[in-house]
Symmetry: C2
C-alpha cells in the first residue's frame, strides 16, 4: 500500500476542526469552565485549572481576540481585570456539558466530582437531541455538503 | 495582590478535565470525527485530518488504550488494521456535535461545510437539553459536589 506523502493531505472542511483551532486545547476549555463556575479573576482561574501564568495569559488573550470572553477592569491602580463569557462563549457550555457527561459515565461512574442542579431542580443529565424531532442526535444520520467526502 | 505560587495550585476535581486528558487534543477529536464519517484506515484518516503519521499513530494507540477505539485486522500480510469506535467512543459524537454547531454558528454562518441529515429526515440541529425537563441545559443551574468549589 502506498504511503501518504505530505502532498496527499487535504484536510476535510469542517466546523469541528475550525472550532478546535480556537478552543481545542485543554487549558482553553478549562478557562471557560472556570468562567462558567463564576471564577473571574486571573489568580483563581490559575489555581483552579493548574495552568501556568504564562500559558493562562496567552489563552485569555486568544479567547478575547476570538470574541469568547471580554475583560472588565475591577481595579484601576494597578490595573486588574475580571473575565466574563460573551454570548458565544456561553454557548460553549454545551461542549463542556457533553465532556462532563462522558467523564462522569466512563471515568467517575461511582462518584462524579460535580453534579449540576438544573433550573428545573433535578440533577442535570445533559442529552444531545435533534431540535426538530427531539430524538437523540446520535440516533443516526448521514453527512452532506462539501466537507462530507468519504474516503 | 499576591501572586499565585506553584504551591497554591489545587486543580478543581472535574470530569471535564479528566476527559480532556484523554481526548482534549485537536488530533484526537479529529480521529474520532473521521471514524464517525466511516473513514477507518490509517491513510484516509491521515489525509482527512492532516495529522502527521507519527502523531496519528500515537493518538490511535492512546485511543485504543482508553477503550475508545478498537482495531480490526483487514489484511494479514502485511498486517493492516481498520479502526472502529467502541460504544464509549460513539458517545463522544455528542461532543463533536456541539463543537460543530458552535463552528457553524460562529465561523461558517453563511455556508456550513457539512450538514448532517438526522434519521428523522431533517437537517440536524443538535441541542443540549436536560433529560428530566427537556429544557436547554444552558437555561441555568448551580454546581454541587467536591469539585464545585468557588474561588
Amino acid at each position: 500500500m502506498p504511503r501518504t506523502s505530505n502532498k496527499d493531505v487535504h484536510p476535510r472542511e469542517c466546523s469541528v476542526a475550525d472550532t478546535l483551532q480556537i478552543v481545542g486545547e485543554r487549558w482553553t476549555l478549562l478557562v471557560i469552565r472556570e468562567l462558567l463556575y463564576g471564577v473571574r479573576r486571573f489568580d483563581g482561574i490559575a489555581r483552579n485549572t493548574g495552568a501556568s501564568r504564562d500559558i493562562l495569559a496567552a489563552r485569555l488573550r486568544k479567547l478575547e481576540a476570538a470574541g469568547i470572553i471580554r475583560r472588565e477592569l475591577y481595579n484601576a491602580h494597578p490595573a486588574r481585570y475580571e473575565y466574563h463569557l460573551t454570548e458565544p462563549g456561553r454557548e460553549l457550555s454545551d461542549v463542556l456539558s457533553t465532556l462532563m457527561k462522558w467523564g462522569d459515565r466512563h471515568l467517575h461512574r461511582e462518584d462524579p466530582p460535580v453534579r449540576w442542579i438544573h433550573v428545573c431542580g433535578e440533577v442535570l443529565d445533559p442529552v444531545v437531541v435533534c431540535a426538530h424531532c427531539g430524538e437523540p442526535a446520535r440516533a443516526g444520520g448521514h453527512p452532506t455538503g462539501r466537507g462530507a467526502l468519504l474516503d
